[in-house]
């Protein structure tokens, strides 16, 4: 009994590892689904060195505006239903908030666009916001300091913010790829998406409550960099300017670019790290 049990346990370890590594091999052989070259703006360095000697990169998405009609808003009720959310409850119902607050995230595939239309729309939206803020300051309805902070933040976003945007979602990655054929600009990746019921606030009484979706998490957003492909990363530390600080003087200058490949299972790996 003991000998047989021991053999089963040993075989189980070997078998499970074979299955896992066969999956990795399947992902990395054949025609890759996408190959994109991103910079430090989109791939932040994660490295603690002291207790964890591994080096990895964290994929950063640009935050989306969540109001219909602004920026590259696309994740509407129809899209939510397409990915499987039940949106049949009327948003005017008295228990609509209870209902939609209880809906849990779903796994689906999202399309990430690098430095494309969404980035341009986002910049235009930010500029519009800044112009509106300038007008308010001129009319004395807003403080000068708020405008200064807004300008600094916009400058920091233009120099250091991620240009990677979620632009579409769907449960069938092959169909998404048919729609987004540029494999050097569009990445398809598994992600968690969630819905949100935007309620009417006091300033917008004429607007009805609306359902919007958002990407809560990219499921493979932390990418390990193997020792033989670390290049310049081995000597770098995570930059302080990954976050915006009002009193920061220095400018952001990305220090590296990374060639990232997504395989047949939509799982990424680092192909090459280059000095910028």
């Amino acid at each position: 009994m003991k000998r047989r049990g021991l053999m089963i346990a040993l075989a189980l370890i070997v078998l499970v590892n074979i299955i896992v590594l066969a999956g990795v091999n399947y992902n990395r052989t054949g025609e890759p689904d996408a190959t994109v070259t991103l910079t430090e703006r989109e791939l932040h360095l994660v490295s603690s060195k002291k207790e964890n000697s591994g080096v990895s990169l964290k994929l950063e998405l640009q935050a989306e505006p969540d109001k219909p009609g602004e920026g590259s808003y696309w994740f509407d009720r129809k899209k939510l239903e397409e990915v499987g959310f039940d949106c049949s409850k009327s948003m005017d119902a008295s228990d609509a908030s209870d209902y939609y607050d209880r809906v849990l995230p779903r796994k689906t595939y999202v399309v990430l666009e690098y430095e494309g239309t969404a980035w341009k729309l986002w910049q235009a939206g930010r500029e519009k916001q800044l112009r509106a803020l300038e007008a308010k300051v001129a009319e004395g309805r807003e403080e000068r300091k708020t405008l200064d902070t807004g300008r600094k933040r916009f400058k920091w976003e233009l120099e250091g913010g991620s240009r990677l945007f979620a632009v579409d979602a769907g449960n069938d990655p092959a169909r998404l790829r048919q729609r987004y054929t540029d494999r050097t600009r569009y990445v398809i990746t598994p992600a968690l998406v969630r819905l949100n019921l935007l309620r009417v606030d006091a300033a917008e009484k004429q607007r009805k409550p609306v359902l919007v979706g958002y990407v809560r998490e990219i499921l493979t957003d932390e990418i390990h960099v193997p020792r033989d492909r670390q290049g310049i990363l081995a000597s770098l530390k995570p930059a302080e300017y990954y976050s915006f600080y009002d009193d920061r003087k220095d400018n952001f200058a990305p220090r590296y670019t990374v060639k990232l490949t997504y395989g047949r299972r939509y799982e990424p790996w680092v192909e090459q790290v280059m000095k910028k």
């Binding site: 779903r106 932390e222 020792r227």
Partner: protein, 365 residues
């Protein structure tokens, strides 16, 4: 293991260490009681019968000690309990050491070396379990090493996931659970059985969650998944497990504990339920359900002489009761009155339990 092994005098040896320990305890108590009866003049066995019993018991204890390394005195038993605790704590510490050791140095290794180490570690440590089990009958070291082997297998799959950026899946819990169960049944180890049952329960709860469309890691946000997984585990007790009687209480306690904890959560967090009713109504239902289930569990435990189950049911009955009192009275009642009432209720419960104990004694006599 051959369960039909016999003594020279024809008596049958127990199959497991647990059964052997129970038999040794009975022999020790029998000797004490016999001595007492003789001192009080109630029973006096002829010398040859006394000698025959003493010789039989002595042979049996020697055989049990030789085969299972059991405790033949109460002092040795206490020492064993201490060793079990030390073995568990040691396993936790060594598992943490394995994790941190790998994290500290993995960045210095190539991907091939990382993968080789990760795959080979649980295999090598598992062979260490076999080695320890051969050399030591009490299995303290085997139990400790088995948990380290389990930790190495957990590290193996989770690190492969990181190294190759694999999309997370609940299937890893199935692999870990199956491994822990095989090791537990092979070497008769209860600690790793607990680890295995927890993994399988996690896998079942996560998989049931995905059937309703939610992401597998969100299974904790719908505690009803855990109730069903716990129930399946509890029902597994009724599947024949001949020769593994010492495992049955583990199934019962782990399964019921999961059910009780999930009900306790839902009795205060109706938003976490699948049921699309107002949260307050759901909470009330689960509060009532908690009391009913505690009562049923106590009844079942008494009926089947499952002491652990009775204790668990009683503990959760009191927890449900006290959390309800907290909800009702904590905010508006002076604190001294609140605690006075709790104390009074504890005394009342003692009376009720005392009455139940008397009834039980009458039934059993």
């Amino acid at each position: 293991m051959d369960g039909s092994e016999t003594l020279g005098s024809g008596g049958r040896l127990p199959e497991s260490r647990n059964e052997a320990q129970q038999r040794a305890d009975r022999i020790r108590l029998f000797g004490l009681e016999l001595e007492c009866l003789e001192n009080e003049g109630i029973l006096s066995l002829p010398e040859e019968q006394k000698d025959a019993v003493a010789t039989y018991h002595s042979d049996l204890l020697n055989a049990l000690a030789h085969r299972f390394d059991i405790d033949t005195s109460s002092t040795a038993r206490q020492m064993s309990m201490g060793m079990r605790i030390v073995s568990f704590l040691g396993a936790l510490a060594l598992s943490a050491a394995v994790f941190f050791f790998f994290y500290r140095f993995w960045g210095l290794l190539s991907t091939t070396v990382q993968t080789t180490i990760l795959v080979a570690s649980p295999l090598m440590i598992l062979l260490g379990v076999e080695f320890a089990a051969r050399r030591e009958k009490t299995l303290y070291f085997a139990s400790l090493i088995s948990l380290v082997a389990f930790a190495a297998f957990v590290l193996d799959l989770s690190m492969l996931g990181q190294i190759y950026t694999i999309t997370p899946s609940q299937n890893a819990f199935l692999a870990w659970g199956a491994f822990a169960m095989v090791v537990a049944y092979t070497f008769r180890l209860r600690l790793i059985l607990v680890a295995g049952l927890l993994c399988l329960m996690g896998y079942l709860a996560a998989t049931m969650g995905t059937w309703s469309g939610i992401y597998w890691l969100s299974f904790g946000e719908r505690p009803e998944n855990i109730i069903i997984a716990g129930l399946l585990l509890f029902l597994a007790v009724f599947i024949s497990q001949r020769g593994y009687a010492e495992f049955l209480p583990v199934y019962r306690i782990v399964g019921l504990l999961a059910i009780f904890i999930a009900i306790l959560i839902l009795s205060h967090w109706g938003m976490g339920s699948y049921l699309m009713y107002p949260p307050k109504q759901i909470q009330n239902c689960y509060q009532i359900g908690g009391f009913v289930l505690s009562g049923l569990v106590i009844w079942l435990g008494i009926r089947r002489s499952w002491h652990g189950v009775v204790n668990l049911g009683s503990t959760f009955f009191v927890i449900f009761l006290y959390t309800k009192f907290y909800d009702w009275w904590w905010d508006w009642m002076p604190k001294y009155v609140f605690f006075l009432i709790l104390g009074g209720i504890a005394i009342g419960l003692l009376f009720v339990l005392g009455k139940m104990r008397s009834l039980l004694r009458e039934v059993t006599s």
